[in-house]
Symmetry: C2
Subunit: 500 residues, 2 copies
């Protein structure tokens, strides 16, 4: 009778070691199953029992207290993901390189990939079969050389590995913005207009990443936004539209990887962003998408020519994957609406929907423009912009919005603007000739937005206003004293308003 | 009195964990000095005491048995490299990104770098300040877009971080081959001719990586090749030349990194190879270099046009860094000399040096051609090729070679061809019209070359020979029965000889 376990069989042990995203396994140097040091390095091994399997890199241990000769230790996250009990017998074997490695090398060598090849690469990225160095090499190579046909293939392949929605209609519309303009909360007006017309528009949005508010942050002041796919489906089938958070719905491991790698390395992610956005639209079951591309010196898209190029790319990639895409460059030189910050933007949105006399005209105008482009897709509509105006002015859009809020889950206590306020005053007399979007968004974030939904900036002197020294330019709102103080301090150093 | 150590001070502990090249430190989750989980992830921390410092990634531990609250554990190699005793108080701080990270991002974004910027990047790579993902991104970006001026800067910068030789002469020559032709051991003839003429030619060579013999492997059959820099210096000042192993002399951490990353990822390393080769020539103190660029369907350089392009690149980069470079495309369609494998190639070399009637004419001819190009750099020489022939035929080259062997350290028992032999016979009658270099090198390696220096292939029927079925094509030599059997088996499947 031999006490050694069968070769390749080891008992699973949970190590109280957190190795972040790295899956690490710990083998004793004199491991009974395998010559452990052979596995040291960038290569990985597959650890499995039945259908459960995980891939990990090897650390070699010389201390029986850490792992015994017949054990394999797994770092915490890897252990949890494998989902087996301690002591389970597992098999280990050298991980074979992903089948698509040759495809990846092909891309690095500068060759064009076809749809089938893109599929292979994306599948292996999604399944965590690549090492980080391989993914980095692919992304850098792809950022340098990606033909239109490859961008289309990549979009298609990414769509296939995302959560899919199917609708009982062929025509499903959507609207996306590349972001960068504070206060440009037009989705909350466009969706109810378009839904009131009779189109289906299942809109999901992000929370703010670097801005003072995302559409999901704003909508969350009045309604539930974290909907499961089935709930979202129901809202859209009943009301024709929704305004939900995309977090739970279109989370993609590829976006994860791409974001953590491309940003710090400064990899040009324009083409990758197009594939990310349009693949989600395909997966969401959309057939028609309008894309808002704000351009201006402080945004990602510096000028109109670049915006047009990007727009052409969006439209061409859309054609390749069966989407009708219309891209619209828009001016990003100044904020839109009166306020920035979730609750202040919601206030502006309702002012437009309620046809208030003092509703921000720029927000109303931009929303009608985009709603009009969407309604023009209806062959029975002669003038989309005009149809949108009617639906807004006759209260149909407001009614539809209230219905969507009810269906998503109305907040018992909607969140309004903050209770603390400080007026920022003009240092000199003259005309307001510019507002630095980047600067005022920064001040709004210091005031607590978007975490504090009531925080933000309420503009009192839009571009074009004549002001006298000492008159208020804008009001900083907050709910927490220290946040207000931080924002006021920042505004005192540079309030972001240009007077001349 | 507070028992907590001062913030940032922890006691060093050696962990019996081997994490290969990764420097990993282990902090307790409730570490007294720092909120350890903040450091999880790709970011790294600097661990230091006095002038000793090491950079490592953090794993977080929840078990007091691994590390205590006031301790920091280091993986074995990191501990050894830091070189401090267990229990030493060390300071930790968040590692700042390398200064050159912006430069690297610039390259990834497709911008051209200047010499000063290349220097910064190379210095930070050499000092292990970059993460692997950063190096991969740089290499992929560089393989896609590297202008001539950048290749020159990169060559210059790499030269500055290599071991430097200085000579008491301004003119120092060298010869380099891109490899790929079995048996092309011309360095062992060129160096003694050139040294006999009076030039200084401090030649260092590699051992075989994928071939059956490198110059260092062959020279090692008769002389010591692993010379310290001082010893090499002395040999060259006495004999005008040397044939040494480059392993100890021009080891570069950049080559390390580049090789382990570029090969598996299939990154086009042509430009990087030029910078690697010429930077070593600059560091070795050379002023004039001739580069042999074999081309053929089975080598890295597929055809004459590619060889000429690569040659032009070598020459242009040379001009930029103050080197006179002459690149010479040569035919790689068939082996050179009678035998392949270290001892068999040495036999051919001595046959040429001794002016034997049956010395391989192709080896003699190629050696004279390259020696001639080098001797043409002497303004007092009218015809370099002719001068080379004289030095070879009058025995000056042989004498010089024997002197170099003596100075480097003559082997008491020079290694000759192997004692086991097997003749590979022609399957059909006809003319030998081709020899597949790749195939015969593979068979020679199976016979034990280059580890077994006597192993290899001795050709009995060069291209052009008329053979009858059953007549010998070549003899496989070996010293170990199993090796011979393996090689014979391979030759039986495909002997690499084309008869028609």
């Amino acid at each position: 009778m031999n006490n050694r376990p069968a070769p390749g069989h080891l008992k699973l042990r949970r190590m109280s070691i957190d190795t972040w995203r790295d899956h690490i396994c710990f083998l004793h140097r004199d491991c009974t199953a395998y010559p452990a040091p052979d596995y040291l390095g960038p290569n990985r091994i597959d650890i499995s029992s039945g259908a459960k399997k995980i891939r990990a890199r090897v650390n070699v241990v010389d201390d029986d207290q850490f792992v015994k000769h017949d054990e394999i230790g797994l770092s915490k996250r890897a252990f949890d993901e494998l989902g087996l009990l301690e002591g389970t017998e597992v098999t280990i074997e050298r991980a074979t390189p992903p089948d698509s490695l040759l495809v990846l090398r092909n891309k690095v060598a500068g060759n064009e990939l076809e749809l089938g090849q893109m599929r292979e690469v994306i599948r292996d990225i999604v399944d965590y079969r690549y090492t980080e160095r391989e993914i980095v090499a692919f992304l850098v190579a792809a950022s340098k050389e990606l033909t239109l046909s490859e961008i289309q293939s990549l979009t298609q392949a990414r769509a296939e590995y995302a959560h899919h929605f199917t609708w009982s209609r062929n025509m499903v519309v959507d609207k996306h913005s590349m972001g960068g303009v504070p206060g440009s909360r037009i989705s909350m007006i466009v969706i109810p207009i378009v839904a009131a017309h009779g189109f289906w528009i299942p809109k999901t949005s992000s929370r703010a990443i670097t801005s003072a508010a995302g559409t999901a942050d704003a909508m969350e002041c009045v309604a539930e936004v974290d909907l499961a796919p089935e709930a979202l489906h129901k809202v859209v089938e009943t009301a024709g539209g929704c305004i939900a958070w995309n977090g739970r719905l279109s989370h993609s491991p590829i976006d994860d990887v791409m974001n953590t790698i491309t940003r710090p390395l400064g990899i040009d992610s324009t083409k990758l962003a197009v594939t990310s956005i349009l693949s989600k639209k395909v997966a969401a079951g959309s057939s028609h998408v309008v894309v808002d591309i704000p351009y201006g010196t402080r945004t990602k898209v510096a000028n109109l020519a670049q915006a047009q190029d990007l727009g052409n790319l969006f439209e061409a990639v859309g054609r390749g994957v069966g989407l009708t895409v219309v891209a619209v460059p828009t001016d990003a030189s100044r904020p839109i609406g009166h306020g920035i910050g979730p609750a202040l933007e919601v206030r502006d949105v309702w002012a437009v929907l309620q046809n208030h006399a003092d509703a921000p005209p720029d927000l109303r105008e931009k929303a009608l423009h985009f709603a009009g482009i969407i309604l023009d897709w209806d062959p029975n509509v002669e003038n989309g912009r005009e149809r949108a105006r009617v639906l807004l002015e006759n209260g149909a859009a407001l009614n539809r919005m209230e219905r969507i809020v009810d269906l998503q889950g109305r907040k018992e206590h909607p969140i309004g603007p903050g209770s603390l306020a400080h007026n920022v005053l003009a240092n000199q007399s003259g005309q307001v000739t510019g507002i630095d979007c980047y600067r005022v968004a920064d001040i709004a974030r210091r005031s607590g937005a978007p975490m504090d939904k009531g925080a933000g900036i309420d503009f009192l002197a839009p571009v074009g206003t004549q002001v006298k020294a000492g008159e208020p330019l804008y009001r900083i709102l907050a709910n927490i004293e220290t946040d207000l103080r931080l924002a006021v301090g920042a505004a005192e150093r540079d309030n972001g308003i240009e007077i001349s």
